[in-house]
């Protein structure tokens, strides 16, 4: 542990009123109590590490508001069916709702190729200079916007990187977030990745066409979702058969109308 040059301390003290907190009995690497005055000056910083992302996300949000475009951030584990759901969704809403897609598929252009066939403008994002292939950050979205003609776009859908962890932490300036959860994943995914299910506005429970072949307990899955995010809408769909699409499409259209006022 010490070879990594840091230590975790779990000396968080919680008051009964749950309002204030302080640390105590801090140990140094040597194991003794810390002496603050021994030739060091402590400087208060109090800054969020992801400040830069939040600032850029705010900038994006202002831009989208300005352009009168509704932005949907679509997230899930790898392979839950984001691209398939998008392909089918776009086929239903185009050309009434003029759409465009930004897709974060790091290694291939497969998803972009598939989505291009629907006739909508597609921007493929290849790298994330923030240091990983694990999420789309706000500044990456900002760069991807340059080639898009927002005069002719009402809805921008961002297909995020397949990952239930990081994308939940990075605001990109979107108006709504949905998470696709397929019935081939464990029922307890919401409990294991609570932040994702907290930050999302709706769940698409996908691949329901496979239910007859699985032992999946859909009621348990829905219960977990409701425990993490009480009241969140869950749309049970099959991107393959388009079962359940009506409710999902209604929700999407209503969300767009609520922002754009038409």
């Amino acid at each position: 542990m010490l070879t990594t040059g840091y230590q975790t301390i779990k000396n968080y003290h919680h008051h009964e009123n749950h309002k204030s907190h302080h640390t105590h009995d801090r140990k140094t690497a040597a194991g003794g109590p810390e002496i603050e005055s021994r030739g060091t000056r402590k400087i208060k910083v109090v800054r969020r590490v992801l400040d830069a992302n939040d600032i850029m996300a705010r900038k994006n949000r202002d831009f989208f508001k300005d352009q009168n475009v509704f932005v949907l951030n679509m997230m899930s584990s790898p392979g839950s069916g984001k691209t398939t759901t998008l392909e089918k969704t776009l086929a239903h809403i185009m050309p009434d709702i003029k759409s465009a897609v930004v897709v974060g598929d790091i290694c291939t252009t497969n998803d972009a190729d598939r989505l291009s066939k629907t006739g909508v403008p597609v921007v493929q994002i290849n790298t994330d200079e923030f240091g990983g292939d694990c999420h789309l950050a706000a500044h990456v979205i900002e760069k991807s916007l340059q080639g898009l003609d927002f005069e002719n776009i009402d809805l921008l859908i961002v297909e995020n990187i397949g990952n239930l962890v990081c994308p939940a932490e990075f605001d990109i300036g979107e108006d709504a977030r949905v998470v696709v959860l397929s019935v081939t994943e464990g029922e307890d995914k919401p409990a294991k990745y609570p932040l994702m299910f907290r930050v999302c506005d709706a769940v698409l429970l996908n691949k329901t066409d496979l239910l007859p072949y699985l032992d999946y307990d859909r009621e348990a899955a829905i219960k977990y979702i409701q425990q993490v995010h009480p009241g969140m809408p869950v749309f049970e769909i099959s991107a393959r058969t388009e079962d359940g699409f009506e409710e999902w499409l209604d929700w999407l259209k209503e969300s767009i109308t609520a922002k754009l006022g038409r």
Partner: protein, 116 residues
């Protein structure tokens, strides 16, 4: 997952926080607050930080991570409590209308700089 990016941000913010009269001094410790809902893995953050801090003012600095629990307030009955399982409804009245008070932090609280 994106610990290297986070380590680099920490270095940027910490470096910018060193007072004018201490420019060039060695940073001994960086105190972080990391909420339990945050995706950061302390071990890999420490590892990435060590690499990223090489040949900077922060080389060899210790990252001290204080873990912050998830706390919430109920919008219906004003109850405040600590969430320690993935159930986000009020511990008193069961309402789902809640506001998170803490648990999402990824903050640099302070830095400790060596005085000569």
């Amino acid at each position: 997952m994106h610990e290297m990016g986070v380590a680099m941000q920490i270095i940027e913010i910490a470096t910018a926080s060193i007072p004018e009269d201490m420019k060039g001094a060695r940073v001994e410790r960086i105190n972080l607050k990391v909420g339990k809902l945050s995706a950061i893995v302390p071990d890999s953050l420490g590892f990435c930080f060590e690499i990223a801090a090489k040949e900077t003012q922060l080389e060899g600095a210790e990252l001290v991570i204080e873990e912050i629990p998830v706390t919430a307030r109920c919008k219906d009955c004003d109850n405040e409590w600590t969430i320690d399982s993935p159930v986000f409804s009020c511990s008193r009245c069961q309402s789902g209308s809640i506001e998170l008070l803490s648990g999402r932090e990824l903050d640099i609280d302070s830095i400790e700089v060596k005085e000569d």
